[in-house]
Symmetry: C2
Subunit: 178 residues, 2 copies
DNA sequence: GGTGATTATCAATCAATGGGACGATCAATC
DNA sequence: GATTGATCGTCCCATTGATTGATAATCACC
C-alpha cells in the first residue's frame, strides 16, 4: 500500500471513510433490490425480527430495533395496512398489542433473503471466494470489537427511553434495522 | 465460517449488512472525535476539499461534495460565520462566489486528520497490522468495483441538477462528504 | 379501591431536504 | 450596445421524518 505522507492521506486509504462510503452504498443497493419485494429496508427488518419471535409487543420491537416507540406506531401501521402483520390483543397485558406476522408477511421473508443474497453478490461479486470470506470474517470481527449487536443496525441510539445521546444531533436516518 | 442454512443466514454473516452497520458506526465515531475540533463531518469535508483547491465556486463545491446547491448556501454560511472560510468575489465571474480557506480554517485541517487517525485506530485497533492492511485493501477494491468516487461520499445522489433518483426517497442524511 | 407506572396513540413542534422563483451577472447575437 | 437566454447564489415554501408532550386504557402494588 502506498503510505504517502500520513499528515494528509487520501481518503481512499482511510478504511473508516471507505467503510462509511460502502455502508451507504450497501444501503442504497439493498433499497433498490427491495423495491420489487414491496417493502422498505426498515419494514423488512421488522418482518425479520418477527420471523424470529412472533407476537412481540410494540415496545419490545422498539427496543430490539432501536427505533423510538412513537415511530413504531407508524411502522406497524404501514405493515398492517399492507397486510403483512396484524395487531392482536395480548391476553396477558391488554394494554399491549401483540404484533403477529400474517401469511402474506411470512411469504415475504424468502424474497428479502434473496435480495440480501443479491446484495452481497452485487457488492462483492468481483472478489474471489477466498477474498470474500476473508473480508466477511474481518468485518464481523470489527463489528464484534465495536460491540455492535449482531442483528441490529445502530441507526437509532435512543431506543425506548435509553440515555440520550448528547452528541451533535445531525439528521440520521440511515437504518437497515433488521 | 459456519455456513448454516442459506435460506435464513444470520445477519452477522451478511457482509453487506455488517458493512451498513459499520458504516454507520464509523460515522458516529468520527462525529464524536470531531466534536472537540469544532466542526461537523460535513463541514470538515468542505474544508478538506478546499484544502485541495482553494477558491472554488459554491457550484463546483456542490458538484464535488454532491450536496444540493441550496444546501451549500447554508454550509458556506456556517463555515463563514465560524471564520473558517470566506466568500470573495470571483474576478472572472462576479455572479459566483469564490470560497477561500482562512488561516483559522486551514489550521483545522491537521486536527481533522488526527481525528481520522484516531477513528481508524478506534475501529481497527483490535486487528493486527497485517489484518488491518488486508481489510483496507479489500475495502478499497470493493469501493473501486462499486465505482465510488475516491474521496466523495455517496450520501447525496442528485447533486447540482443530476437526473433525479426515482427510488424510494426515504430520508438520507448520512454524509461524510469529504 | 387508590396511586403511580406503563402501553399505544395522537397532536404539535422541529430539523433537514428539495423544488421553484428571483435578482444579478455572464455569454452570445443581432 | 441592446436583447435574449443561461447560470450563480439566495430565499421562500412544501414535504418529510424525527422528537416531544399529552392522553386514554390498563396494569401492578399497597
Amino acid at each position: 500500500m502506498v503510505t504517502s505522507d500520513k499528515s494528509f492521506r487520501p481518503l481512499r486509504q482511510r478504511p473508516s471513510f471507505v467503510l462509511s462510503q460502502l455502508g451507504f452504498h450497501s444501503d442504497r443497493t439493498f433499497d433498490e433490490l427491495l423495491v420489487p419485494v414491496g417493502v422498505t429496508r426498515r419494514q423488512y427488518g421488522m418482518l425479520r425480527i418477527l420471523a424470529d419471535a412472533d407476537g412481540r409487543t410494540q415496545q419490545e420491537l422498539s427496543s430490539v430495533l432501536r427505533v423510538h416507540r412513537n415511530v413504531m406506531v407508524g411502522l406497524v401501521d404501514e405493515l398492517e395496512a399492507a397486510g403483512f402483520v396484524e395487531r392482536r390483543r395480548n391476553p396477558a397485558d391488554r394494554r399491549a398489542h401483540a404484533v403477529h406476522l400474517t401469511d402474506r408477511g411470512r411469504a415475504l421473508l424468502p424474497m428479502g433473503e434473496a435480495a440480501l443474497d443479491a446484495c452481497d453478490d452485487q457488492l462483492f461479486g468481483t472478489l474471489s471466494a477466498a477474498d470474500r470470506e476473508t473480508l466477511g470474517d474481518l468485518l464481523a470481527r470489527v463489528a464484534d470489537a465495536a460491540h455492535l449487536l449482531p442483528g441490529v443496525h445502530p441507526g437509532y441510539e435512543q431506543a425506548g427511553d435509553a440515555p440520550p445521546n448528547p452528541i451533535s444531533s445531525r439528521g440520521r436516518s440511515n437504518t437497515r434495522t433488521g
